[in-house]
Symmetry: C2
């Protein structure tokens, strides 16, 4: 069974084990083997920094052992997704493995960023239609769910970023995750058909 790396800020939930179990059960029902970042024990380390590095090494190894990634791209403490998960999407993309993702908050990056910045979002002088923040940094506007490198990786994998609003359950709703599994099944079905020919 292809192994799916289950990336996302889910690891920060108190009930991460329940989320991990639920995601893994869904994976099995679609013919995949789910791998959660907190699977596998980390040895005791001499400092909390070293412990952090050890988790990073363990997650990199887990990703190398997986065949694809399904990332929880739900906005996390700002207009964009969790940076650790973004790192992991890049990691899997570079390995040539399919990158899929879902977000439980609808809308695109530009609308969320404008909502986040409020009055700090202003029009850039002399540049038609370009919005910028209070640091003079343009607000990326390609009609995508998040930064173009993230949406681009999913698109380049032959999939679509799934977005659906579940504001009240933004970090627990698994409907978007299941849509990703359906896409993954179609992708891997194509692959195995091709292999047989």
């Amino acid at each position: 069974m292809p192994r799916v790396y289950l990336a996302g800020p889910d690891v920060f939930r108190e009930d991460w084990r329940a989320v991990s179990d639920a995601k893994k059960a869904l994976c099995r029902s679609y013919g995949f083997d789910g791998v959660f970042p907190l699977d596998g024990a980390i040895k005791k380390q001499r400092s909390k920094r070293q412990f952090g590095y050890a988790i990073s090494r363990a997650n990199e190894k887990l990703m190398q052992s997986c065949d694809l990634i399904i990332a929880n791209m739900t906005p996390f403490r700002g207009p964009s997704m969790d940076v650790g998960t973004a790192f992991e999407m890049g990691f899997m993309r570079a390995l040539g493995k399919p990158v899929l993702g879902y977000s439980n908050v609808k809308g695109n990056l530009v609308s969320r960023t404008v909502a986040h910045l409020g009055k700090k979002a202003v029009r850039r002088k002399g540049a038609k239609g370009v919005l910028e923040d209070n640091f003079g940094m343009a607000i990326e506007d390609f009609g995508l769910a998040d930064n173009l490198m993230l949406d681009g990786a999913v698109h380049g994998s032959g999939a679509k970023v799934i977005t659906a609003s579940s504001e009240r359950t933004r970090f627990s709703d698994l409907r978007g995750f299941e849509q990703c599994l359906k896409q993954a099944k179609a992708l891997f079905g194509q692959k195995s058909r091709r292999r047989r020919m």
Copy 2:
């Protein structure tokens, strides 16, 4: 000369060309060839989404042509760095290329997140010392500059994340960038010495 991918939200500045030129000049003075994400033209596309995807493809190709990455990890519209840059750190890490980074805002992730959340940061009940946000998501606390996957990639590359406060010039100060070049020179010097033996 080793090619350095110059990752960061620098691309969102109106004067990105000046930043690109300044970074490239510094690169040359340390024996590196700087490659900016906006180098190279993108063909006209039929929609802005397609244009975003084309930039993503071009950047992935540029990264594959580079030998290392120096990432601007300065916090971007929240307590963490820009997600596009985080993706690129993961991409280069998976290719086994050195990942270096600097941030122009001092302090670690936990202190910045607590400052960002204000009263929304609370102690998790029954879990000694764990802080969480208003969604019940733990605030990662490993004493690192940002998420452990990011700091872990730099540490795993044999380097240190450079942090220095330049609040007023948080997106233009290049002293942290230059410190990264010094580290890169030391890393690549070791490599070429090893190769000669």
